[in-house]
Point group: C2
DNA sequence: CACTTTCAGTTTAATACTAAACTGATAAAA
DNA sequence: TTTTATCAGTTTAGTATTAAACTGAAAGTG
């Protein structure tokens, strides 16, 4: 009885490790490929993610932006510094808070890259059927629930 | 007809983007949590991954190690430099190649951390049933096939 | 044997990212 | 009003990571 359960647990652990390995492999390759094709526009994935987030929402503070993108505010400070320097975003201070908006150049760049990047994402999961994509999404949701 | 297909494609794209967002969120949180509990042993995830890989295989070269862990050889050089300096691994040169093995301290440390880390991985996927874990693994395999 | 190619590992410059300490302004409390 | 808390954003030190150039040894070729 005990031996039975121990064996089952071992199998479960093994499955988890395999799943983790697959997942992180996929993630890392994806980031790498993404950075490669984004080189065309001299922008990185991290920078693009900020642009996309800023471009799709009304007035976000730096902290809110960090929360949405799941990074620290320190990281945000630096990314935004770079993006500001490149002329793609601007910061407007209001009391303690700085609100971020796209400049015209930032908006133009985003409009140009967004469809390409969306297609890239779609291609990444291209081997899955619609049904399987839904399945995957649900499993990922459940993990984090 | 065309409108129909276009709509379907849009839905597929949206699913892909959502899946990607979930996946990267999970990945990043996981790395962060992992680093947090590994602080107890003054080791990082990246360093532990190398130890675990070295400890589970006979004689790997730096390049092979990089391939297994899906990082560049430059990254490997640096990680191994750190691990060597900490006294956990050693490099043995043979012709052009350097082979990596664990030192006794490295082995002891790995033996101590491995079960904890395996349990951590298992817990991460703890909300999934055995069947769902298999499903997830298969979907991830299919994506990359 | 001399010349060239290949290939493991190293170095360098750049970006990304975290944790933790810090700054300075606003808000709350006394 | 003075003091204290809080809280947004910044800074700093450290690790991780890549791409690309470099080094030097080994292998292949003539």
């Amino acid at each position: 009885m005990y031996a039975e359960e121990s064996f089952k647990k071992k199998r479960e652990r093994m499955l988890s490790i395999l799943a983790w390995f697959r997942l992180s492999r996929f993630y890392n390759q994806s980031i790498r490929k993404s950075n490669q094709h984004l080189k065309l526009w001299n922008i990185t994935v991290a920078q693009f993610d900020v642009l996309a987030q800023v471009g799709s929402t009304e007035r976000l503070s730096q902290q809110e932006l960090a929360d949405k993108l799941l990074v620290t505010k320190g990281n945000m400070t630096q990314l935004l510094g770079k993006l500001e320097q490149l002329g793609w975003i601007q910061r407007e201070r209001e009391w303690k808070t700085k609100y971020i908006t796209l400049t015209d150049e930032g908006r133009a760049l985003l409009d140009e890259i967004l469809p390409v990047q969306e297609q890239f994402q779609a291609d990444q999961f291209g081997k899955l059927t619609m049904e399987e994509k839904k399945q995957l999404l649900n499993l990922l949701k459940k993990i984090q629930s």
